[in-house]
């Protein structure tokens, strides 16, 4: 199957072509699109490119003889490679250099990212390389250019790397629409998807194929043999396991010891504030001054690049990082992955563990460090799942209408389009396979004139119909605006953090430390302290140019709750944790304090059976509490909390507030929320009835800040709000009107507008997890177990210790948790 020069090259490296690499060649020979599912270190990328290299090598031989005959070689793009990270594209380009140079192939490989010079981009359009490596955003921009048909007409192959990380997101929608366009420009090109192991590959197989009007089309699939099973340890102590918190301070010496034992360790945490704290805690016990660095998305880009470069040089022993390093280029030296806190999902854990040891046949080594009791359960559940080869499934979302709006404008930038032809093309993209013509037309109308029932803007239209009835761009300037605003990654408005010397007035000078979300900064008062970029900082004031801070030696910084990289607990893992709690026969595997905790819970209250939802009520202080344990993640619990308190308010229970964590929701009220009869079951069935997802949800959404943020994101992606204008590149902070005000007016005057529909669709799976809440309410219907207790139960303690909270509107009450932790735990664990 391999041509001689390739066989020799493999041999010269001491390699054997792997079975999946040959299988991909086979599919290529038949012109088939194919999904390759393989673990890290499996030679996945080379597998994707081999058919291209072989084809180009053969064509090269032919072309050489042709050019001898006097014809010059016309350059054309053969293979397009798309990766979610530009760093990955650059790295792959480097890796392709070796086979190309060593086999002396005349193959031109180039990358195209935001960093590519304007001159080179220009040249790439006219004289493309054989292989172009780029990102979904750049593909969108290439397709929005009038020369796109010429550039792509000879395209043979598209390679989609890390497809599992792109599909089923807005970037995936953008990519799917781009691929649909490519199907029209280069009919018959084939696609190769490269993916980490996923629970259900069918959605990815669909993603690779143009979907027919009826039924569905799946690509071929090749599943590579799995590598060695990872070695996963869970740090645990039989003497002390914290009740709450996410910092694992108690385990820092264990973590330090693990760093000592490793060549290089990656230390993953879930949020940026956790990264900051962990970094500090580690340095506090870093007696041998090991080089340990910090890496997260809020740090200044130069600082991140420095850390990455030091890592590549092998100058670091450990990096504390967030999901910013979940994906990325291979660092050969990493031989240990340490995950602090909850794993959140089995697939995420596999991904992170895969960052250590890129050789397929050796086991990767990982250490999980749970920070509290529930996290101990979650770590065990995640390890069991990974070792059993089971992974989280993902809810498949429909393609976003906001992304579609961006694509429609981009399409018009390239050439006038026929609405029906574009509709058919869009429907062939799997996320949009069920798009209705009504929605499509509404999106086109939105792009053209805003799509308002009150047709006031027709004379300013962005799209107009030409003589052939095709939509054309009304003004060439719009193409320029499109290029400036394209893309579906919407950052929260950020504020620069500037460090100034003590004693100077806020706003004077200041070195930039990085950026933080505006909403975090806005909730600080001057004098508040927080940890950022590895230091404790004192907030001095917010000015137009940024947030000004000074360094302080106060060790008791307020812990920032800046949110970057917060993922919900996966549905699959939640299920496994629930099963673990419900199965006392397996508790012996757990550390002693956790066993004791569950046993006293069993004795004092009840351990819910699989499928049941436990609801406990008890008095404490002069409040009445209701605590339930859905294990559906904080987002879904917060939404549930808002809805329950609304309902309790109507029932005159005077709810005063609630707290939500990943596992439980606690509501407190002035009145007892259970009823005397039947232990309160009828009461709870009514309270948790699914119909709360109707009007209550709608009313709450109207006011919810999370929902308004969702609207803002949709409005920006759809192009209602522009981030940048030609000539004056505004930062998002300086947008001259507030998306909240637009939301209020639109909702009041045209509640069915397509952008509000896009927002609702987004909220279902995004920030608010409404879909998941709906599934949960349906699942527990008639399966609610109620316990009226005389005091707090062991299982309830972590929720009550949780600080994050949403106050019930109109009943603001600051007296939440005056009591100290010790008294609470003593009451919960008292067995008399």
């Amino acid at each position: 199957m391999l041509p001689p020069e390739f066989l020799q090259w493999f041999a010269s490296r001491g390699w054997q072509p792997r079975a999946h690499q040959l299988a991909l060649l086979d599919h290529a020979a038949r012109g088939e699109s194919v999904l390759l599912v393989a673990p890290t270190g499996g030679g996945k990328t080379l597998a994707g490119f081999l058919p291209t290299l072989i084809d180009l090598a053969g064509r090269h031989a032919f072309k050489l003889s042709a050019s001898r005959a006097g014809r010059s070689r016309k350059s054309s793009l053969h293979t397009l490679y798309i990766s979610p990270l530009k760093a990955l594209a650059v790295d792959v380009a480097r890796n392709l250099d070796a086979p190309i140079a060593e086999m002396n192939l005349a193959v031109m490989v180039e990358t195209r990212t935001g960093d590519t010079s304007a001159a080179r981009r220009q040249r790439q359009r006219h004289t493309p390389p054989d292989i172009l490596l780029t990102t979904p955003e750049q593909l969108g921009l290439l397709l929005a250019h009038p020369r796109a048909p010429q550039m792509f007409e000879n395209l043979k192959t598209v390679v989609l790397d890390e497809l599992h990380a792109l599909a089923n997101s807005k970037r995936g929608d953008l990519l799917a629409l781009g691929l649909a366009r490519l199907s029209t420009l280069a009919p018959g090109h084939r696609r190769v998807g490269l993916s980490a192991t996923v629970k259900d590959p069918a959605p990815l197989q669909r993603f690779l194929m143009p979907q027919p009007m009826e039924g569905e089309a799946l690509s071929a699939i090749v599943i590579a043999k799995g590598g060695a099973k990872p070695r996963i340890e869970i740090s645990a102590s039989d003497s002390y396991v914290p009740w709450a918190g996410h910092l694992a301070r108690h385990a820092m010496l264990d973590v330090m010891a693990a760093i000592h034992d490793a060549k290089t360790a990656l230390i993953f945490v879930n949020t940026r504030s956790q990264a900051e704290r962990t970094f500090q805690e580690l340095w506090a016990v870093n007696d041998s001054n090991l080089p340990i660095a910090l890496h997260h998305g809020s740090l200044a880009i130069e600082q991140r690049r420095k850390v990455e470069a030091a890592m590549a040089r092998g100058a670091l022993r450990a990096v504390v990082c967030t999901s910013t390093l979940d994906l990325g280029i291979d660092w050969g030296a990493v031989d240990k992955v340490i995950c602090i806190g909850a794993p959140k999902g089995a697939a995420r854990l596999v991904q992170r563990i895969g960052r250590a040891n890129h050789r397929l046949d050796e086991p990767s080594a990982a250490l999980l460090v749970p920070a509290n009791r529930f996290e101990v359960l979650e770590c065990h559940a995640a390890r069991d799942a990974v070792l059993a080869g089971e992974l989280d499934g993902e809810r498949q979302k429909a393609g976003g209408l906001d992304v579609l709006a961006q694509h429609v404008l981009g399409t018009a930038c390239a050439a006038p389009f026929d609405a029906t032809a574009l509709f058919m093309e869009v429907r062939s993209a799997s996320p949009y396979a069920h798009l209705t013509r009504e929605d499509f037309d509404a999106v086109v109308e939105f792009v053209a004139t805003g799509g308002y029932a009150l047709r006031r803007y027709d004379r300013y239209a962005r799209l107009r119909k030409n003589d052939q009835g095709r939509y054309r761009l009304a003004h060439p300037r719009l193409a320029q605006e499109y290029r400036l605003n394209a893309g579906v990654i919407v950052e929260d408005p950020m504020v620069e953090i500037r460090l100034q010397s003590k004693g100077r007035p806020a706003g004077a000078g200041g070195r930039k430390l990085g950026e933080l979300e505006e909403y975090f900064i806005e909730q600080l008062s001057p004098g508040d302290t927080f940890v950022f970029a590895g230091d404790v900082l004192r907030f001095e004031g917010l000015r137009e140019t940024g947030a000004f801070v000074t360094k302080t030696s106060d060790p008791n910084a307020q812990i920032p709750s800046y949110n970057g990289g917060k993922f919900p607990l996966s549905t699959f893992l939640a299920q496994r944790v629930r099963e673990m709690v419900s199965a006392p026969e397996g508790w012996h595997k757990l550390p002693e304090p956790v066993q004791e905790w569950l046993k006293i819970q069993e004795w004092r209250s009840v351990i819910p059976k699989p499928g049941q939802l436990l609801v406990e009520t008890f008095p404490r202080g002069n409040r009445h509490y209701l605590v339930c344990y859905p294990f559906e993640g904080r987002l879904a619990h917060q939404t549930l909390g808002m809805l329950l308190t609304r309902r309790l308010e109507r029932g005159r229970y005077h709810p005063l507030g609630f707290v939500a964590n990943e596992y439980a929701l606690a509501v407190w009220a002035a009145k007892d929320m259970s009823s005397e009869k039947d232990g309160g079951n009828a009461n709870m069935d009514a309270l948790f009835d699914e119909d709360m997802l109707g009007d209550d949800l709608d009313n709450w959404l109207a006011e919810s800040n999370l929902y308004k943020r969702t609207f803002r994101n949709c409005a920006i992606i759809a192009g209602l709000i522009q981030r940048r204008f030609p000539g004056k590149e505004k930062s998002s902070r300086q947008v001259t009107f507030s998306s909240d005000l637009i939301y209020d007016v639109l909702r009041e005057h045209e509640p069915d507008h397509v952008l509000l529909r896009a927002t609702y669709q987004d909220a279902g799976t995004g920030l608010l997890d409404i879909a998941r809440l709906g599934d949960m309410l349906a699942r527990v219907k008639k399966r609610i177990v109620t316990r009226r207790l005389d005091r707090v139960s062991p299982l309830a303690v972590p929720a009550l210790l949780e600080i994050s909270r949403e106050m019930v509107a109109g009943a603001v009450d600051e007296a939440i948790l005056h009591e100290n932790e010790d008294a609470l735990i003593r009451d919960a664990m008292r067995v008399e």
Partner: protein
């Protein structure tokens, strides 16, 4: 957008008593005068000319809220404190319904249109008086506050907003600003953003302590400057 008449706040500005309505208007009972600032009619269509299609309902929304305030206070005079129109042609872009709503307001009260920087020459067909400065009792109305102190000055232009933070959350609202001698009104237009009272453009107008009167859903909250962020 809600506007419930309830718990309105009374304050003194240079000896005149003004009622601060939670919708963002001020009312002088002594002079039967209702004051709005920075209505910015047709801001939406102004952006539409640059092909950003904000919902075309801002003028209607603003007029509806004005009409509700007028119904509550039944004033003999309405002062629009400048920047009533977002740009020079904005008045020409009003739809027939919006003009009708405006005419209805004008029919029941004497309008005083103060010229602003966005609308230096409000169209004559509006009816009522068009002026740069209007004096009433101890108060002087103009669009943009003078840097020099003039007791009794009531102005707009700055779109003041204030934030209060507590329990890890913050609330930002439009507000009136006053130290008892002069006052800045919040902007009333549906799409008008705001400037924090801590910014020099606002804070420097007041030599001593002042209050931000923040607009709640149904009442106005008096927040001392040192509390507002």
């Amino acid at each position: 957008m809600r506007c419930v008449w309830n718990n309105d706040l009374l304050i003194d500005v240079n000896g005149e008593t003004l009622l601060l309505d939670a919708c963002g208007a001020a009312f002088s009972a002594a002079h039967s005068t209702l004051i709005f600032s920075d209505l910015h009619f047709e801001k939406g269509s102004s952006y539409a000319r640059g092909r950003q299609f904000l919902p075309p309902y801002d003028t209607t929304n603003t007029l509806l809220r004005m009409a509700r305030a007028v119904a509550r206070h039944n004033p003999a005079r309405i002062i629009a404190l400048g920047d009533s129109f977002h740009d020079r042609d904005a008045a020409d872009r009003l739809g027939p319904e919006e003009r009708g709503m405006l005419d209805a307001l004008a029919a029941g009260a004497q309008f005083v249109w103060i010229a602003g920087n966005h609308d230096p020459h409000p169209p004559a067909w509006l009816g009522g008086d068009i002026t740069e400065i209007f004096r009433m009792g101890g108060l002087t109305f103009r669009h943009e506050p003078l840097a020099a102190f003039e007791p009794g000055e009531v102005a707009g232009h700055l779109h003041p907003c204030a934030s209060v933070a507590k329990w890890g959350r913050s609330v930002r609202r439009r507000c009136f600003v006053s130290d008892g001698l002069r006052m800045i009104l919040p902007s009333f237009g549906a799409y008008t953003g705001g400037l924090d009272v801590g910014e020099a453009a606002i804070a420097s107008l007041f030599a001593g302590p002042f209050h931000a009167y923040m607009l709640g859903n149904s009442r106005v909250y008096a927040i001392p400057r040192r509390v507002a962020v």
